[in-house]
Amino acid sequence: MAINLGHLRRSPTDKHVAGVAGGIAHFFDIDPVVVRVAFVVLAFFGGAGLILYLGVWIFTPMEDDPRVPFSMDVRSRALALYIVIGLAVVVLLGTTFGNLHAPWFVWVIAAGALLLLWRERQWRRVPYVRMRRGWVEDEPAAPVAEDVAPEPVAEPEPPVTPPADGGTATYVAPPRATTSVTFESFPLPQPKPRRPGPILFWFTLAVIALAEGVLGTIDVAGAHVIGPAYAATAVGITAVMLVVGAFWGRPGGLILVGLVASFCLLVSTTLHEAGWDGQADDIRIAPTSTAALQPSYAMTTGELKIDLRGLTDVPSLDGHSLDLEGHIGHIEVLLPAGVGADVVAEVHGPGHVQVGDDDHGGIDTTVDTTLPATSGYPTIHITADLSVGEIEIHRG
């Protein structure tokens, strides 16, 4: 079933502040505690959680009251919510990877949102009823909802019957029409039916915790357990519970657990294959003579930078071979101006290779190219090999 965020409602019953977390939990059929914890955690990433919370608060009506500060149809509301999510993701990624804090305009928007919400609180003191006005002949007025006074309705002008003989006008009372204002409770939308069966989220977490504990015990007992096995166990258990939950019980929240565990599996496997010991290499070589230049350099994880621009005997570079190797990270070679290079650069996993203006990226990227030397300048042979990361060879 396609998810339409336009149908998202805040929860009037499961609420601590505005019912946002309760509404989201109900909509996605997951435990509200998970949503609340996610909001709090995300709030520490540049305020992404706060932006998300306020956005949903502004654009989403209560389950029992359709009024919102920004009234809009379902499709527009869904679009607005997607924009809010996009903004929160930008702030989250910017804070996490780009050391970018929420820009000032985000906080201006947040302040405006708070103002709107304060206004909403003011008029929400009046309970919402849908009013229908009508004329009801000879019927007693319908009961009026408490606390709401009916609007006064102007009495119709009484008709005056002109006398046939030109005498004094006689007032003939019209048939009395009873003005009634009827109030109906707004028909509450039927809540989204929950899937039957138990919530699988906490059970799955408990099984994962137990399995991790067992693996740790086996590791401590002497049988070597490789690092990625822990993440793989979590992914496997989550996968099984998701397949079970597709037919039985309530698997809400497990896709997120699976994504997080898969990411951990990817990172830990890559680091394990690279033999990373927790220390990043930072190798910078800047020889002043060709004799000081080794034929090969290697690193495990980190950065390997060879800067040949300071060489005083550039012509003796001709025919020199340079073999560079690493697992994860960045290999960079800076050549003196005019020097040519025969390059074979390979990144086996995901990565990027740039030789001069020749730019390639993707998985298992190999570049075999030549940077032509200026007349009278030497040519060097470079071989660079990396598992994951970036290789750059430039002429400075």
């Binding site: 039957p196 496997g236 996968a239 597709a246 599996l265």
Partner: protein
């Protein structure tokens, strides 16, 4: 005020009977579950040296192919059951 204005509240008795925790197949959870299962399977093959690292290039689309095909079959199955 006519009675038809209100929809009667659905009482637990009026709700469709639930058989344990079984429900209509959830395609999203089925697809993602199979993706993760195949993902772990591929990881196991690589770690046990049954396949080489450079084979990942053609192995990585496999989870999506398997899960996508299973999801389509599940959609088709539930659609056929609905129209019977």
């Amino acid at each position: 005020m006519s009675d038809d204005i209100f929809e009667p509240a659905q009482t637990p008795e009026a709700q469709p009977a639930r058989h344990g925790g079984w429900h209509a197949v959830s395609i999203g959870h089925l697809v993602m579950g199979l993706v993760f299962l195949t993902f772990v399977g591929i990881w196991g093959l690589v770690e046990s040296d049954a396949v080489e690292w450079h084979d990942l290039r053609w192995l990585l689309p496999l989870p999506w192919l398997i899960a996508g095909a299973a999801g389509l079959l599940a959609v088709a199955g539930s659609s056929i059951r609905k129209h019977r």
